[in-house]
């Protein structure tokens, strides 16, 4: 079967690939573009580690048909750092020991970015709600919540 041409913006850069019909965005990002930051977790929408931003909205890339992002903007953790500098959220995660095995971290950071982009000063309850679709089996969540709150307080632009 013929491949389908697909063009979209990936972390601020235009990309053009060919996908098989039915390919999900996670596979397209990891296997065709080489962006390994979104992780495969459950493939069912239950764990959140594949989270990306599509036109600024948090989506699960494993449940997104790749063709849907045609002409749209996709942001992943790979695009979060600013040159050699960590994004304030990444720095806060490091400072607050918010990652242990690190498998959930890409999804947590994208969920946190989606929150802070629209609400720079969230309450603790809003942070808990924002990461409620993301599972972490290591940290017990408290360091992650604290990191996001810390980033919201001392956050630079971006």
């Amino acid at each position: 079967m013929a491949k389908i041409p697909l063009q979209f913006r990936h972390n601020g850069r235009d990309v053009a690939i060919f996908v098989d019909g039915g390919t999900n965005l996670l596979v397209a990002l990891r296997e065709l573009i080489g962006d390994m930051t979104p992780k495969f977790g459950c493939g069912q929408g239950g764990c959140g580690t594949c989270s990306v931003l599509i036109d600024g909205e948090l989506h699960l890339s494993c449940l997104t048909l790749a063709e849907i992002v045609s002409g749209r903007s996709v942001e992943t953790l790979d695009g979060m750092k600013q040159g050699p500098n960590l994004h304030p959220l990444q720095r806060a995660f490091a400072d607050n020991f918010a990652a242990q095995c690190g498998y959930c971290t890409p999804g947590m950071l994208m969920a946190a970015k989606a929150l802070l982009d629209r609400n720079p000063w969230p309450s603790r309850a809003e942070v808990v709600e924002a990461i409620s679709g993301n599972i972490c089996r290591c940290t017990g969540y408290e360091p992650i919540i604290n990191a996001i709150l810390a980033a919201s307080g001392g956050r630079a632009s971006g």
């Binding site: 079967m1 039915g22 929408g45 449940l63 048909l65 969920a111 929150l115």
Partner: protein, 272 residues
């Protein structure tokens, strides 16, 4: 596995493509169909999509509201005029699932999901579908009872009447993980009150049968009565009548039967 993806700008064409191929499924937000594909469901060979803006339209200005089938739960939460639907919309998934999941898709979500449909069932919603023989409106109960046979029909929109007051519509989802998680049971109640008495009560339950159902015995216990302790106790005692819950990882059928009356009493009493 390679699928055929067909995207149409017209609803007529999308409906025709869906009804002409038994192995075609409509792709809305992706939370059901993409999940099935990820799990290796080989019964799906074609995915049908439609770009028509009508699918994402919300009409919430009057007493009767209409939600396009492609309206997401995040869009409902952003709509101030749909405040009575915020609790059921918020009870679904995390933010990403709410950005993706749609009203139309929720009608087809199996237990322990489909919570929004419980609310729509209590509100006596009407579902507009387009199939081989054109567009028609069907009651949500009829759609749920024939859900397995409706895979070839394209859901266009869902409409319902706005409750007369905030107190007239109540919703409660019991889950093990908060704020998100699959439903142990889900309850919704529409309690129109005229002259101090309930007239036209509708109680809907999720995860208490293979599809969302009405608790008709509980409704009968409420009908024509004032919402006092005696009436609420009678409705709670009748809550399990007609139910047939299943065991799953979130709870056993026995457990569900034990707690449904307790939670119905709390819902009707206005307790948190």
């Amino acid at each position: 596995m390679t699928l055929t993806v067909k995207t149409f700008s017209s609803l007529d064409e999308a409906a025709a493509a869906l009804s002409s191929d038994r192995r075609a499924r409509y792709l809305g937000g992706g939370t059901l169909v993409m999940r099935a594909l990820n799990e290796g469901d080989v019964s799906i060979s074609t995915v049908v999509r439609a770009n028509d803006q009508a699918l994402t339209r919300i009409d919430a200005s009057g007493p009767r509201i209409t939600l396009g089938a492609g309206v997401t739960f995040a869009k409902i939460l952003a709509e101030r005029d749909l405040g009575f639907l915020h609790a059921p919309a918020r009870s679904i998934g995390g933010p990403a699932v709410r950005n993706m999941g749609t009203v139309g898709g929720n009608l087809f979500a199996q237990n322990p999901y489909g919570d929004f449909t419980v609310a729509l069932l209590a509100l006596d919603a009407t579902v507009a579908v387009q199939g081989t023989f054109g567009a028609r409106d069907i009651g949500i109960e009829e759609l749920l009872q024939s859900r397995e046979r409706q895979a070839g029909a394209l859901v266009l929109s869902v409409s319902c009447t706005r409750p007369a007051s905030a107190d007239a519509f109540r919703y409660r989802k019991v889950s093990r993980i908060k704020p998100k998680g699959g439903s142990v049971i889900t309850l919704a109640a529409h309690l129109p009150i005229g002259g101090g008495r309930i007239a036209g009560a509708r109680i809907a339950l999720g995860s208490m049968a293979p599809t969302q159902i009405r608790a008709r015995a509980a409704e009968r216990a409420l009908e024509g009565c004032s919402l006092d302790g005696t009436t609420i106790a009678a409705a709670a005692a009748a809550a399990t009548e007609g139910t047939s819950p299943s065991d799953n990882a979130l709870g056993s059928a026995w457990y569900r039967c034990q707690i449904v009356g307790v939670h119905l009493r709390r819902l009707l009493s206005g307790q948190e």
